[in-house]
């Protein structure tokens, strides 16, 4: 099945170097005819290639900011703000002023995704308790449900679908905070504006391209409630411009200021790595960030070496969502600022708990569809053919130099062997093999000359 991804290549900028093929954790990229080609069945939107490409030839595909001034009243526009956005600004800005600034940009309604995150935390705590109770019954722990794995990062979920299928039952099967909030926002906006829910246009301001793929091709759901995904770094300069004005957030839409329901601080915590886990009442958790680190931890879980851990929170990006490829600020500044934002959220909540929208208003859904497998790692549908191919691959690999130089366009000699077996490459794509053959031919010509 075709699986959409949200990374594209600018062929003119691509130099055909080997940087991206080497960094790709799923070996989804090959250089063919001097240009990088992405296998869309294997790309999980981790954005490693976007970060690594020295020529900026890789780009995340997102939607473009609409001309909000031309919007139609029958189709109200809603912006969903993930907590990571709050970490982006060096100017003094609080959550309310950022939400107000989004209104000023032209969005009719603005909701914090932290609302959905807080609701998800509540439900996840229940799931943890249910799993503990089930463990008590099992006792021997042979078929342990632990560790539970967060499904908040779509890149991680797609990695598990492809390469760690045995871990699918460990995933928290709740839809993502983005979806929980979108469903709530659609109903609320429909009620407030009097238009049918399907006319409400929902825009998510995203720190990463995987959220766009997740909205086009939902995980565990039939349809996404998110209509468009905008890049955080596209919205950032417009917001900054508004926030730098001294009267930002106060005068402009003071009427609407109270209209924004604020989330419980636990929802705001999700922006950084370990934030989600810290909202659950367990000490036995592990937060792991960076896609290559995530892979090594998933291996550990598969080898049953982490049974003493109750909850694993893997994030594709270093630092968590604040390290996303579509953010505007370096992740270290973002992390420091996020700390203040969370501190402020807790302080405000302590002073006035009634100001927060109760999480009960939002309803995290259990995945309505079982998570599908991604079979792109499979050599062939028929196991006998696959066995033959595997055998052939091993034979070819033993004749390759083992340098993993990447000059053939595949990231490793093993990957080239696979490409040859699948009919996508030739043995002479290997420059070492080619050199050997040329030398042999040259020697034969010399003999003939004598």
């Amino acid at each position: 099945m075709g699986r959409l991804h949200s990374v594209s290549l600018n062929r003119e900028l691509c130099m055909g170097c080997t940087n991206c093929i080497k960094g790709c954790p799923t070996e989804a990229i090959r250089v063919r005819d001097g240009k990088a080609v992405i296998d869309e069945n294997r790309c999980i939107d981790c954005a490693e290639c976007i970060r690594i490409c020295p020529h900026h030839a890789k780009r995340a595909v997102t939607d473009t900011l609409p001309e909000l001034s031309e919007r139609h009243d029958d189709f109200p526009c809603v912006a969903l703000i993930p907590p990571s956005l709050y970490s982006q600004f060096s100017v003094p800005a609080n959550r309310a002023s950022i939400l107000n600034a989004m209104n000023t940009l032209g969005f009719d309604y603005v909701y914090e995704v932290a609302l959905g995150a807080a609701a998800s935390s509540v439900r996840t705590r229940e799931i943890l308790n249910e799993t503990r109770a089930a463990e008590e019954v099992l006792k021997d722990g042979t078929e342990s449900g632990f560790p539970l794995i967060s499904s908040a990062c779509p890149v991680v979920v797609r990695l598990i679908q492809m390469k760690y299928k045995s871990l699918i039952p460990h995933l928290i099967s709740l839809d993502a905070p983005m979806e929980i909030t979108a469903r709530y926002a659609r109903e609320e906006a429909s009620k407030k504006s009097g238009v049918p829910p399907e006319n409400v246009m929902i825009y998510f301001i995203s720190p990463c391209p995987s959220k766009r793929s997740a909205s086009l091709n939902p995980l565990g759901q039939k349809e996404s409630d998110v209509n468009y995904v905008l890049a955080m770094h596209d919205v950032y300069p417009l917001l900054l411009n508004l926030l730098e004005k001294p009267d930002a957030g106060s005068s402009d839409s003071s009427g609407k200021a109270d209209a924004h329901p604020l989330a419980d601080p636990t929802g705001v915590q999700w922006a950084t790595s370990g934030g989600e886990a810290s909202t659950l009442d367990t000490e036995k958790y592990m937060a792991v960030d960076g896609i290559h680190n995530v892979i090594s931890i998933l291996n550990e879980i598969e080898n049953e070496n982490l049974k003493d851990i109750e909850f694993v929170e893997p994030s594709c990006c270093f630092g968590g969502c604040i390290g996303g490829p579509l953010t505007a600020t370096n992740p270290f500044s973002a992390k420091a600022r996020m700390r203040s934002v969370i501190h402020k959220a807790r302080e405000d909540h302590g002073k006035n708990p009634g100001n927060c929208l109760h999480s009960n208003a939002l309803d995290p859904h259990i995945w309505e569809e079982p998570l599908s497998d991604n079979d792109s790692m499979r050599l062939d549908e028929d196991i006998e053919t696959a066995l033959g191919k595997y055998d052939q691959m091993e034979k070819i690999l033993s004749t390759l130099p083992g340098l993993d130089c990447g000059a053939c366009g595949a990231p490793t000699c093993a990957a080239l062997a696979e490409d040859i077996v699948q009919g996508n490459a030739l043995e002479t794509d290997c420059i070492i093999k080619l050199k050997e053959q040329i030398r042999k031919v040259a020697q034969e010509i010399n003999i003939l000359k004598l």
């Binding site: 045995s166 499979r378 050599l379 549908e381």
Partner: protein
């Protein structure tokens, strides 16, 4: 082996069973048999794993199959092994288990897992 079975499209549960059985048998060969070799045969419907060591052999196989029975040295126990669960755990995972052992010559553990 795990990687190979994944590439062949074997279902995750079978891969898990094979991995656990192989791991336990390898640990046994290291602790008791001074190391050894592993031979894996993959068929379209099953996998056969042989772990062969040239250690002291198992005096009483039936006793060794008992949960909790262990002759592991303290050095192995210090690392968290030697709970006497190795062979019983293997038995749980595999469809067929053969133990061929000769005192002073070594042990060959053969495990079959159907996919």
């Amino acid at each position: 082996m795990k990687k190979a079975l994944t590439r062949l499209g074997v279902r995750p549960l079978s891969i898990k069973r094979a991995s656990i059985a192989m791991y336990e048998a390898e640990i046994n060969a290291v602790i008791h048999g001074h190391g050894g070799v592993a031979v894996v045969h993959i068929f379209p419907d099953s996998v056969m794993i042989e772990i062969i060591d040239h250690g002291p052999g198992i005096p009483d196989v039936e006793q060794a199959m008992t949960e909790g029975f262990s002759t592991a040295p303290d050095s192995a126990r210090a690392m968290g092994f030697g709970a006497g669960m190795g062979l019983p755990n293997i038995k749980k995972q595999v469809d067929l288990l053969e133990i061929d052992t000769k005192m002073g010559e070594g042990t060959k553990v053969t495990m079959h897992i159907r996919f």
